[in-house]
Symmetry: C2
Subunit: 238 residues, 2 copies
Amino acid sequence: MSESYELGKQLRQFLRGILNEKEGAAQTYTEWGPRVDLAGLKDIYAPQKVKRFTVRPGGIDNLALHSTDTFRIPGQGEFTVDFSGYFRVARDHPTTNDWTTCEVLVNIIDLRLYGKHKDIGEIAVSLNPDILSTGQIFPAKVANGPKACRIATGAIFELRQLGVSVFNKEPILLMNEGIKSIPPVNDPSGHALLFMVPLFNRADPDGKPMAYLSSLRYGAEDYLTESKAEAFRAGRKL
Amino acid sequence: MSESYELGKQLRQFLRGILNEKEGAAQTYTEWGPRVDLAGLKDIYAPQKVKRFTVRPGGIDNLALHSTDTFRIPGQGEFTVDFSGYFRVARDHPTTNDWTTCEVLVNIIDLRLYGKHKDIGEIAVSLNPDILSTGQIFPAKVANGPKACRIATGAIFELRQLGVSVFNKEPILLMNEGIKSIPPVNDPSGHALLFMVPLFNRADPDGKPMAYLSSLRYGAEDYLTESKAEAFRAGRKL
């Protein structure tokens, strides 16, 4: 390698050091895919009528959300927790006005879930601000048939009783291969395609995994009213 | 948000801008998990006798590898390609000397695969140097039963005829839930757990996906002789 390459490499490492020090964590900003341009997209709240197999212009969906997650904590066991809360999804304008062919880029821009387990206590889930959670709705495989969607999601799980927050470095891939409306409201059939996603301690991000996410199922519910969405954003459990 | 927070954020964005410009790409170095310490680990070559259900000390495995990958290229279709080549896996010392309980940290530190498709031509696969491909072998679920392994892999696919190289930002999760030896030599049952992993153009890393990896099956074969491994490292197709 040339000297100027080496010098550049050292400079980059030095600058990265500054970035990490300022952030107090070894994570730099990660984008797993394209960003939705929020300009011109408006927040959408209840009440809404969502038509099946119909394309709609882009917007920011504020939807109730539930999930059932199983965590494996080495030395402690497996714990299944029911969560409920909300997510806010920036949904880009579709690439065509036709249900079958259109693609739609999406980003999760807010996520708040709460759950409680008798053994490991209360858990709050939020969006990881160091990662762009991004995905898309695909063209349908069959004309006028259901569409598939995928969203690579970066979350933080705050295990309050254990006094630790953990996060995923590999995406939690939320997906649904049978969506019949955009957005897929009142659809309980979402799941995460995963196998033992390692969860790392936010206070020791370069350490070994503290836990694993071994299963996740989810369902998007209906649009929230603006006041309910605001209450979630304010951190209130509803 | 406070002014000093905002200033820090702007400074970080400025520094990131410098980093990206110097590298000629928006990718910074990514680690999906822990790094195996290579000090004290020796390269292992053929001939080897690998005993089933037996723990062995750490080392660097040089193994023949084959895979069958399916790519979806929007507007062009789906293409299934058979690859063969090699990978070099740094395998840490096991956490215990017991097959059932031990965990083993692994990193893929080299990967060379070649394949050819009648329509899209020759494809060369290599390890993405911007990403640490990392994973582990888990404790067995049942005493003396098979073990599971996962490796989050970052690859570069050089589509020579199309004149483009694409890479994954989300891991290609290589896994095998039924390994009966360490390493799992002559085991054709590996697969990647994935759903339409987006592949981005190395020349336009922040653009939209150029292609998707829609399926991948793989099998690790036997240890290579040192000369065959060196030939792969030198870029020769065998």
